[in-house]
Symmetry: C2
Subunit: 411 residues, 2 copies
């Protein structure tokens, strides 16, 4: 079954807002073996929406119309569907009663236009909205299915899960689509592809897509089969070969972020960490503490931008900075060891570098970063030269530090 998604709303045609519901819907539809072939964004305009809807109904077996189900006059989806299909709108007493009782409960008078939400095209089913007032609409039109969903993501997602997924599961031919994502760190995209292209090009099912994201390469596998178990078996067959080819460069097989993986290892091994950051400005601490429960492994950090604070907070000897400069291997080492000692942590991390745009010299250019990692066995320091702007250098530096921690605690 092929699907298309139409997002309705003039705000989605400004530079400031973007349709993100279609990403959620695409993920869910793919799991059912349904591919999305077109996505369209159109404003709150009857004529234009009618044209888009007509084209969609003529070419796709499943059309999902998102947004425009509220009580205001901008909410045109119900009307346009009724007129394109030539079916009158009928009031559903049950929906009307719910809306009226809701306002009664709130002790507020009901604006008349709220009753528009009780209107449904003839022959349609309506779909319960667990998180809002506007019901969804489900229409069977011969071989085509048309679904109207509300725009707010928490309403759309809850309605799709509770009302649409079970209906679509019954209708799909039994073919299932399962996907898996491997995340790789420490290898450039070209090297990843060199290692695995000879493997994955031999398969048409699963299909393989390699995506470069900031700080990681992602390998997406999608398998089709008659059952989930068969699709998983196909994923396992190709996936095992890919895992073998990339080894421990794969840090995640279930979509986890690098900080989640690192946090999991730290908790499993009952290790704690403290960090001293200069050029990353707190980003490494921030990423480690995004994880719920991070107080189990993260003790604290210092952001020592000035030389004085490198000495005061991380115990870096003044003489070391004077001799080697703040951006140097010995200072990264001293920061890692100093913060580890002060916080009494199992592991200490020190990051010093030049994030740019200013501050670079021919000897120490923008992008030069030293990362130290200390534990009870000793301290290792690595030198990096990251490309890109300030934001990228900072992110890459935090990513490299997390990867150093991962390799240390995993073993």
């Amino acid at each position: 079954m092929d699907a298309e998604i139409i997002a309705v709303g003039s705000e989605l045609l400004t530079p400031f807002r973007q349709d993100t519901n279609s990403l959620y819907l695409t993920g869910k539809l793919n799991e059912l073996g349904i591919e999305v072939r077109f996505k369209t964004v159109v404003g709150d305009d009857r004529e234009r929406l009618a044209a888009v809807l007509q084209a969609a109904l003529g070419r796709s077996e499943l059309v999902i119309l998102v947004g425009g189900l509220g009580p205001t006059k901008d909410d045109i989806n119900r009307d346009v569907v009724a007129s394109v299909l030539g079916r009158p709108l009928r009031e559903v007493p049950e929906i009307r009663a719910r809306i009226e009782s809701r306002f009664k409960r709130l002790g507020r008078p009901m604006p008349e236009n709220n009753l528009r939400q009780a209107l449904v095209p003839e022959g349609a089913e309506w779909l319960e909205n667990p998180n809002g007032t506007a019901p969804g609409i489900w229409l069977e039109l011969g071989s085509t299915t048309l679904i109207l969903l509300p725009g707010p993501p928490q309403e759309l997602e809850a309605m799709f899960e509770s009302a649409c997924l079970p209906r679509l599961e019954r209708r799909t031919t039994g073919e299932r689509l399962r996907s898996r994502v491997y995340k790789v760190v420490g290898l450039p995209e070209s090297e990843v592809d060199l290692r695995i292209a000879p493997i994955y090009t031999a398969y048409t099912n699963p299909t393989t897509t390699v995506l470069a994201t900031l700080g990681a390469i992602e390998i997406h596998l999608r398998a089709r089969a008659a059952s989930d178990a068969e699709a998983e078996a196909l994923l396992n067959e190709l996936g095992d070969k890919i895992e073998l080819a990339l080894g421990d460069h794969i840090f995640s097989t279930r979509g986890e972020s690098l900080e989640e993986v690192v946090g999991m290892y730290l908790m499993m091994r009952r290790r704690t960490v403290a960090v001293a950051e200069s050029c990353t400005g707190g980003l490494l601490s921030e990423r480690l503490t995004r994880i719920a429960g991070s107080s189990n492994f993260f003790l604290g950090g210092v952001v020592c931008y000035s030389n004085e604070l490198k000495t005061l907070l991380a115990g870096v000897p003044e003489a070391l900075i004077a001799t080697h400069g703040a951006v140097s291997k010995p200072v990264a080492q001293a920061m890692a060891e100093g913060v580890r000692r002060r916080a009494d942590a199992s592991l200490g991390v020190g990051i010093t570098g030049i994030a740019g745009p200013g501050g670079g010299t021919p000897e120490k250019p923008v992008g030069l970063v030293f990362i130290g990692l200390a534990d009870e066995k000793g301290t290792s320091v690595r030198e990096f030269r990251f490309p890109g702007d300030r934001e990228r250098v900072r992110f890459w530096a935090s990513q490299a530090a997390l990867e150093m921690i991962r390799r240390r605690v995993r073993s």
Copy 2:
């Protein structure tokens, strides 16, 4: 003139990738008074792309086709345009010569398929690609203009600025569209709208849109006029009234982020800041150091997750934590004062709270955050109860701290 944008690429129909070029293009087109009426995403499929292109050419005066200009067989845009328009592809000797000399310079043999990039539909102009090899294509088709741009954002943006903007400027009727964004902090959306709706609803030009984003309310004004100066005058007239109604709750009028505004004030006033964070985990330091040149005002920070580190790094007396608990007004005050003193900064910030999901109690629920701000005149502490999940609580807390700094240094 009405435009529509078609993004081509199967990866844009997966749950993992999204078309973002259209946001950039929409912003630039709006400045020229051109509105975007439709956005479509379609995969690398000749038949489907042809259908989408045909519909677009039938209804829009300006059609921009993005992606699919590379050398591989997935890059179908040139071919599909030629076949939809019934115009043969012709090789442009100048483009061919450039591609050949590029490979000669690199000392590599040229794969034959690269010459596909030298093909252009009969009657088309080609557009220089300052950041890549694939040239763009410009076609005048009676009253319709069709532009083909490459997909990588840095190539698309450079080509659009250098080749498309000047051409479009000559063609637009002289009507100009200018926009302005006010960002507001410290007031809920309903309160913002209550204050300004009576003002902006009296205007149809500029149009006004109020958007709630995480941590701020944005007010977007768009004015149309015969010249930039007239459009600016319209923006000024309505904008002045909005500024009066919202006063110093407006922190930005040119799109700056709150941290940029705070950094600018700190630099202007030659003030420095140091921060002690608990629940925000380094986010406030990270936001303050996103700004290039932040070493002029940001001295450093401590992330003291554990009670021991609150004492060790921020000088919070153990007895204070024992008496009031780590999440308390006195501890936020002591953190702000302690870090200010240690870093010898003009301003000290202390943040302690419960970001969740765990750790809440009936007396101290998830979302409770205390923020202290210390300077030479004294220390103020505010108590907040932020709604939402861990990520939102942390962001809101960093936002509130920045707003406290802004109010302190602005005066």
